[in-house]
Every structure is written in structure tokens, then in C-alpha cells.
């Protein structure tokens, strides 16, 4: 019963000054909505950044020779790479594992020559770890495991002035220092939309690569694509404990592309600063309202204390007023934020100039915020806690009141 009265009192007190309460609520709702939208947008873009960058080529994890990541020298190899890829497939019970080898070659067409990185891939597994095979716009992706065929990016094709059906001469140096030379037929041209990738990537079947570059069965990496980021750590542990060769290391995406994770971290810390400022501003608003509402009720509190109410009860009253206020703001902010974010997660969101920016981070030119428990609740719960914390000072002030003096206060 007593609790019930407290809550009713709190509710009624809250609506004594309708305009003030609505203004404070407005501040809370505004921040909640904004935070929900911003965090959802961030989450959406980070996921896309990671996914697009990793699925294009790098994969979520790779097994490489120790030191290959830093120095990427031809002789730092993974021996019997195809067999290792097969073992990993069996260990993880997935098919998304593919072996690769990489070498540098001068590619010459009839008119042009261009130095480029040639990748040897397993035609049957590569489409499972990388999105490039699916992006072939002319011709088809590699089919045979040992054909003299090549698939290149569209910008590269344009620069080399070749198209599907024509031939390229590759000239490089092999694993043992011998000359590696082969004539390959362009069977496919892919277009990812990322100019750097379309200018740089050329793929031939792994077995062809191993023969041309005298690799003796070795390769440079085993690429593993994971269905989601969360599982990467677990897989990494499984693999690390299973790989017996001292010279091999298992690397996850944040080591393969450290820039990606750090770009996200840098963006997150500047965003966190903005969010904290917003939350602090709301807290000031609540502090102001609650302090005023306590001060103007000094006489009333004096009387209530004279009637035998403990200061603790009164503090609780003030805190429950704030809780109701912040709770209302939370609910309304959630509704509004949810609606706006839901709409934008379907319609997409764009900002002038975003297209050029997005291209740099492998993002599409429209962004789609991600609605999740985290993006919905993270911001609002900080606002809620900030509001309650702000009400502590006014609530505790009540303890200083002397009933008699308070009753006489103006």
C-alpha cells in the first residue's frame, strides 16, 4: 500500500508542471532517438565494412607461414597446401576453406605489359571463401583445376587491352629462382566496383600456379571464411592446437587487415565522445528540473517530515519521480527511434558525399542501420542511468532539511 501511494504521489508530482516535464522529456526522447539511430547506423556500417572487405578477398582467417604476413616473400610457404586445406575442412566441418599461392609476374598482352600479383586458387573452393568469383561479368570463373586459364579484374582487363578469349603471357620468377613463364587464356573478367581490387587481382588455378612457379605442392595461405565474426576466435583456437608445424601461424581478420579494426576503433572512440556529451547534457537537464522541483517544495517537504515521514522516503519519492520520467523518455524514445531506424533500415540512408567516402571503406553508397538489442538499448540505457544519477543530488539534499525551518521557507 505504502509503495502504491509513493508511486501515485510521484506520478502526480511529475505532472504538476506539465510544460517543464514535457520539456525534460523532450530532451530525453531527442537524445534517445538520436542515439538509437546513430548506434544502429554505426553497427550497420561496421558489419558491412568488415563483411565486404573480408569476403572480397582476405577471408576471416588464414593459415600462413610465420612472417609471410609482414614480408610476403615467395619462399615463405605452406608445404602441401592442398592437403592442409583438406584437413582444416574436416576439422571445422565446413567447406569454406580454400588454398592459395601468390606470386609476382609481368603480364603482357599484345599491346600492354603490367606487373601484377597472380594468385593461384582452387577453382572448386574459391567461390566459397571469396565474393570475387560471383562477380564475373564477362565469361565465366575458372573451372578446371589445371587449365592454363586466368580471371582478371575489369580495370586490369581495360588497361591490358584484353578481353575474354584472348591470351596473356605471364613472366615471373619461381619458388626456386627459375624463370616462370606461361601463356594463359582470359576466361573471365570480374567487376567488384572497387577500383583497387579490379586493377590488382588476377587468378589462375592453383595447380597451374604450382607448376609454373615450381612450387612443389606448396602454397602461401589457406583462407577460411566464417559464417559470422563471433566464431572466429573459437575456430582459431581449434586450428592453433591442431596445426603441428612450428612454422605455421593462424591469423584472424584483425591481424590480416589491422587497418580495418583500427579504423573502426578510431571511429568508435570519436562517436563515444559525442554520445557521452549528449548523455551529459540530458543529465544536466534532468538535474535542473529535479533540483527546482525539490526546492519549490521545501515547505511541503517540511510539513510531510513534521507529519512523521522519514527523509529517506522523500528521497525515494524524488528518485521515483525521476525514474518515471526517465522511463517514459526511454519508452517514447525507443518507439520513435525504432520507427525511424526501422524505416531507414529498409529505405537506406544517404548523405551528400557519402558515395566517395563509402567506396574507400568498401561500403555501398546507401547505408542501412542494423536494428538489434544492442543498438536499441545501449544509448537509451546510458541516458536512463545518467538521468537517475543526476537526480541523486536533489534527492539527497532532502536529508539536510530541518522540518521547522523548511515549513517557514518561502
Amino acid at each position: 500500500m505504502a509503495v502504491n501511494i509513493s508511486i501515485r504521489l510521484a506520478w502526480r508530482n511529475l505532472w504538476r508542471h506539465k510544460r517543464r516535464t514535457w520539456l525534460t522529456l523532450g530532451a530525453i526522447i531527442f537524445s534517445n532517438t538520436l542515439l538509437i539511430f546513430m548506434i544502429a547506423l554505426q553497427q550497420g556500417s561496421y558489419t558491412m565494412m568488415i563483411d565486404n572487405s573480408l569476403r572480397a578477398f582476405t577471408g576471416h582467417m588464414q593459415v600462413q607461414a610465420r612472417g609471410y604476413l609482414d614480408e610476403s616473400k615467395m619462399r615463405m610457404v605452406v608445404p602441401d597446401v592442398v592437403q592442409l586445406a583438406g584437413e582444416i575442412r574436416a576439422q571445422l566441418h565446413v567447406k569454406t576453406v580454400s588454398a592459395r599461392a601468390m606470386g609476382f609476374a609481368m603480364a603482357s598482352s599484345e599491346d600492354r605489359s603490367f606487373g601484377l600479383q597472380v594468385t593461384g586458387v582452387q577453382p572448386q573452393f574459391e567461390p566459397k571463401v571469396s565474393s570475387l568469383p560471383g562477380l564475373v561479368v564477362r565469361g565465366h570463373y575458372l573451372k578446371n583445376v589445371d587449365a592454363d586459364e586466368i580471371v582478371i579484374g575489369s580495370v586490369l582487363a581495360r588497361n591490358l587491352k584484353v578481353d575474354v578469349g584472348e591470351e596473356l603471357t605471364l613472366l615471373g620468377s619461381g619458388y626456386d629462382g627459375s624463370i616462370a613463364a606461361v601463356i594463359v587464356k582470359v576466361v573471365g573478367v570480374f567487376e567488384s566496383g572497387m577500383v583497387d581490387l579490379d586493377r590488382a587481382v588476377a587468378q589462375i588455378p592453383l595447380r597451374t600456379f604450382q607448376q609454373v612457379f615450381s612450387m612443389n605442392g606448396a602454397g602461401h595461405s589457406v583462407v577460411i571464411a566464417a559464417p559470422e565474426l563471433d566464431i572466429v576466435d573459437q575456430w582459431r583456437q581449434t586450428l592453433s592446437s591442431n596445426i603441428s608445424n612450428e612454422n605455421m601461424v593462424v591469423l584472424s581478420w584483425d591481424e590480416l587487415q589491422p587497418g580495418l579494426k583500427q579504423a573502426i576503433q578510431a571511429d568508435m572512440s570519436s562517436a563515444a565522445f559525442m554520445y557521452l556529451v549528449l548523455v551529459a547534457l540530458v543529465a544536466f537537464s534532468v538535474l535542473n528540473t529535479q533540483l527546482m522541483s525539490v526546492l519549490e517544495r521545501t515547505r511541503e517537504f517540511g510539513i510531510m517530515m513534521a507529519l512523521g515521514l522519514k527523509p529517506g522516503r522523500l528521497s525515494l519519492l524524488v528518485l521515483s519521480e525521476t525514474t518515471i520520467l526517465a522511463g517514459l523518455g526511454l519508452l517514447l524514445g525507443l518507439c520513435l527511434g525504432f520507427c525511424i531506424t526501422l524505416y531507414l533500415s529498409h529505405a537506406g540512408f544517404s548523405y551528400p558525399g557519402m558515395e566517395e567516402m563509402a567506396g574507400r571503406f568498401n561500403l555501398p553508397s546507401r547505408m542501412y542501420p542494423t536494428i538489434s538489442c544492442l543498438s536499441m538499448l545501449l544509448g537509451p540505457s546510458f541516458v536512463f542511468m545518467g538521468s537517475i544519477a543526476a537526480a541523486l543530488y536533489p534527492a539527497l539534499r532532502i536529508h539536510k532539511l530541518q522540518p521547522v525551518a523548511a515549513m517557514r521557507a518561502v
Binding site: H17, R19, R20, L23, T24, G26, A27, F30, E71, S72, K73, M74, F104, M106, S108, E110, D111, R112, S113, F114, G115, L116, Q117, R158, N159, S173, P258, G259, Q262, A263, I264, Q265, A266, S270, F273, M274, V277, L278, A280, L281, V282, F284, S285, L287, N288, T289, L291, M292, L295, E296, Y351, P352, G353, M354, E355, E356, M357, G359, R360, F361
Partner: protein, 411 residues
């Protein structure tokens, strides 16, 4: 006289409920500080990106063969500047220029082969515009247009397992699509001050040497020009368009079109400043209006009395707006001061190397120099004071429109 009284009244009213005023002030100070501080940090980052970006392009404007940007091949080159054109460039709008040959090439040492960008440069003007010679930590920078040596990055040297004084072979396609190759001695090794990626990519040789290697005497890939200020390429572009340069059929572009990412960055940053300032202001405005509404509400009887004694409603309105104005003004002063105090100690740069590779993705360095721009400070202050006063008009107007009798009788 009248205004004097109104101002005094407004000032005293402000301090009647000093707690409320102080809390509101704190909120304004925090808001203004955040506006200026955050903007200075972001500006610092973007300026750094732009400046190092322009240094790499290089130049505020560039002239290329129309096809070169899509297809950076030796075939797509333009003739070198003629004496007549050089004379035309003697104009205050043009500060510096340099010509370069820039082609993809392959470099090989005894151990390794790598793809690089071979830059045939004019050593003096290149050093003045784009390449900071102090980056050359071992050996020397190129000396003349026909210098026979090359300068490579330390990272590349490491990858190639080679070092100063050793010979490497550079191969590239010449104009007739035959592979031109030749040995070069490494005369200098540089450590890039900017994005580390370039250390692995850019190899510098003398323009004349590269021209003869690729059999394109008299041709260059790009001619870069610097004007007064990269933020305003108008005077530079205007003059260049008048010269004979355009007659050669080349494509003349300002930097923000050569690298659209950089150009966009500058515009997006301006947008960001406005959005950020407005968001903070909106969050503040709820509190501001609230404070004023309550201040008016408490004084209804008093306002009624003043009106009954003959004070015009306009003066009451002015008085409330004055209160808001003072509140905002003090908040702005303190906020600006606080922002200055927190930014000035960091003028020498904040080390953010923990995320350096991430910053590299943005195109920025691992040391962040906050850039306090007058323009941004003005935007923040103007928004707060103008919109703040505008927001205070509503409660002020309500106060002015009370009926004296009703107001006097209020509880």
C-alpha cells in the same frame, strides 16, 4: 535609461535562483566546449589528410593525358612544357610546378620481385612541391634530371632484401610495348613521414633517365601546379586555363577532382561541423527553454504587478530575452575559454599511433594536430547565441502577454 533598467533587472533576475542558473550555465559550457573541441579534432584530422593527400597527388592542379587516370600507361603521356609555356607560367597565381613520369613498373633484387610505381621526377621542383628531402635517411636525394640513381623506401628495401649502394633492376613497358629494363644503383633510402604504404610503392628516379629508359624523350605523364592555397584553386585554375597548356589536349583538373575522396572529405567535414553544432544545440535548447519557462512561471505575479504599474509588455519581453542572452553569453565565454585551454596544450600533436593503420585507411597520420579554425568557432557561437535567443522568445512572449489582473491574482 529605460534599457539600463531592463538590463539591470534581467541581470539580477538571472541570479535570483543561482543554482538553476549555474546548472544551466554548466550545460551550456559543456555543450560549447564539446562543439569546439570535437570540431577542432576532426578538422585537424581532415586537414592532415588533405595536406598529405595533396602532397602525394601532388599539387593543387594537374595536367594529364585524358586517358591517363584510368589507364596509367606510358602511351598516355603529354609533351613536356615548352619554353613558351614556361614563360606563361610566370604568374603570381602559379607558385610552383613540376613534371613527372609516373608508370607502374616491376623492381627486382637478387632475392625478390615487387610491383612498384616508378616516378621520374625533376629533383628540385619535386622536392619543393611534394617530396620532403629530410625523409631520405640514408644516402642522398636525386641531384639532377639525368641522375642515374634511384631513391627507394626503407620498407621496400627490406622486402627486396637490398640496401643502399646495391643495384636493382627495374622493368616497365615502353611506348612500343617492349619490356624496357635497366639496372639502377640505390643512392638513397627514405622513411615516409606520411602514409607508410607509399614507402613500399613509390620509387624515385630522375625524369631524364626514365624518359630515355622508356624511349619517350620529351614526354611526361603529369604536370602538377601549386597555387596560393589549396582551399581556393580558383585563381590558379583560371590562369592555367588561359595559357597554351590547354591547347595540348591535356586534361587539366583541380585536386578535388583528381582525387574525389579528398574533395568529398572537405565538403563532408563542413557538413559535419554544422550537424554536430546543431545536435548539441538542440540538446541544450530543451534545458534553456525549460529554465526560462520556469523563471517566468515563478514570477507571474511580479510580472502582473509590473504591468499594472505601467510597464509595457514589450519591455517584459525584452527583459526575458535579455536574461537568456546573458545566460548564453556567459556560457559561451566560459565554453570558448575552456575549449581554448584544452586545445592549446595539444597543439604539438596527440599521438594516436595505437590506431595508426586505421587512420591510414582514412588517409591520415598517426599524430593528430587539433586545428582550431576561426570559422568553426564563429559557427558554434553564432548558432548558440542566435538560435538560443530565438528559442527564448517563446517563453518571453508568453510572459509579455499575461493579463495583469489574472496574473496578479494567481495563487
Amino acid at each position: 535609461m529605460k534599457t539600463g533598467i531592463i538590463v539591470t533587472l534581467a541581470w539580477r533576475n538571472l541570479w535570483r535562483n543561482y543554482r538553476r542558473t549555474l546548472i544551466m550555465l554548466l550545460a551550456i559550457v559543456l555543450g560549447v566546449w564539446a562543439m569546439i573541441f570535437m570540431t577542432a579534432m576532426m578538422r585537424g584530422m581532415v586537414d592532415d589528410m588533405l595536406e598529405s593527400g595533396i602532397r602525394h597527388l601532388p599539387g593543387h592542379a594537374q595536367l594529364h593525358h585524358p586517358l591517363y587516370r584510368d589507364d596509367p600507361n606510358i602511351v598516355n603521356s603529354v609533351p613536356q612544357l615548352t619554353n613558351h609555356q614556361l614563360k606563361q607560367l610566370q604568374n603570381p597565381a602559379v607558385h610552383q610546378w613540376t613534371s613527372r613520369l609516373k608508370v607502374p613498373a616491376v623492381i627486382s633484387s637478387e632475392r625478390e620481385v615487387r610491383g612498384i610505381v616508378l616516378l621520374g621526377v625533376q629533383p628540385q621542383s619535386e622536392a619543393a612541391m611534394a617530396f620532403d628531402i629530410s625523409q631520405v635517411k640514408e644516402g642522398r636525394w636525386l641531384e639532377s634530371d639525368v641522375d642515374k640513381g634511384i631513391v627507394i623506401g626503407a620498407k621496400l628495401a627490406e622486402r627486396l632484401e637490398t640496401r643502399l649502394g646495391k643495384r636493382v633492376v627495374i622493368m616497365s613497358q615502353d611506348e612500343k610495348n617492349t619490356i624496357a629494363e635497366r639496372g639502377f644503383r640505390i643512392v638513397g633510402v627514405y622513411h615516409s613521414n606520411d602514409v607508410a604504404l607509399l614507402e613500399e610503392l613509390n620509387v624515385y628516379a630522375a625524369l631524364g633517365t626514365v624518359q630515355s629508359l622508356l624511349a619517350v624523350e620529351g614526354n611526361v605523364s603529369e604536370i602538377a601546379f601549386n597555387g596560393e592555397d589549396y582551399r581556393n584553386t580558383q585563381p590558379l585554375m583560371a590562369w592555367l586555363k588561359q595559357t597554351d597548356l590547354v591547347l595540348s589536349g591535356g586534361e587539366l583538373l583541380p585536386w578535388h577532382e583528381v582525387d574525389s575522396y579528398l574533395g568529398t572529405m572537405m565538403r563532408v567535414m563542413d557538413g559535419f561541423v554544422i550537424v554536430w553544432v546543431l545536435i548539441i544545440f538542440l540538446a541544450l535548447s530543451f534545458g534553456l527553454v525549460n529554465t526560462l519557462v520556469m523563471a517566468v512561471f515563478e514570477r507571474v505575479r511580479e510580472i502582473g504587478l509590473m504591468q499594472a504599474l505601467g510597464m509595457k509588455p514589450t519591455l517584459i519581453l525584452v527583459q526575458v530575452v535579455c536574461e537568456a542572452f546573458f545566460l548564453l553569453l556567459i556560457g559561451l565565454l566560459a565554453g570558448n575559454a575552456l575549449a581554448l585551454l584544452t586545445i592549446v596544450p595539444f597543439q604539438s600533436g596527440i599521438n594516436i599511433s595505437a590506431v595508426s593503420q586505421g587512420m591510414e585507411m582514412f588517409g591520415a597520420n598517426s599524430v593528430l594536430y587539433p586545428a582550431l579554425k576561426l570559422k568553426d568557432v564563429v559557427v558554434a557561437n553564432v548558432v548558440v547565441i542566435v538560435l538560443g535567443v530565438a528559442a527564448s522568445i517563446l517563453p518571453a512572449w508568453r510572459a509579455a502577454s499575461y493579463d495583469p489582473i489574472v496574473a496578479l491574482n494567481k495563487n
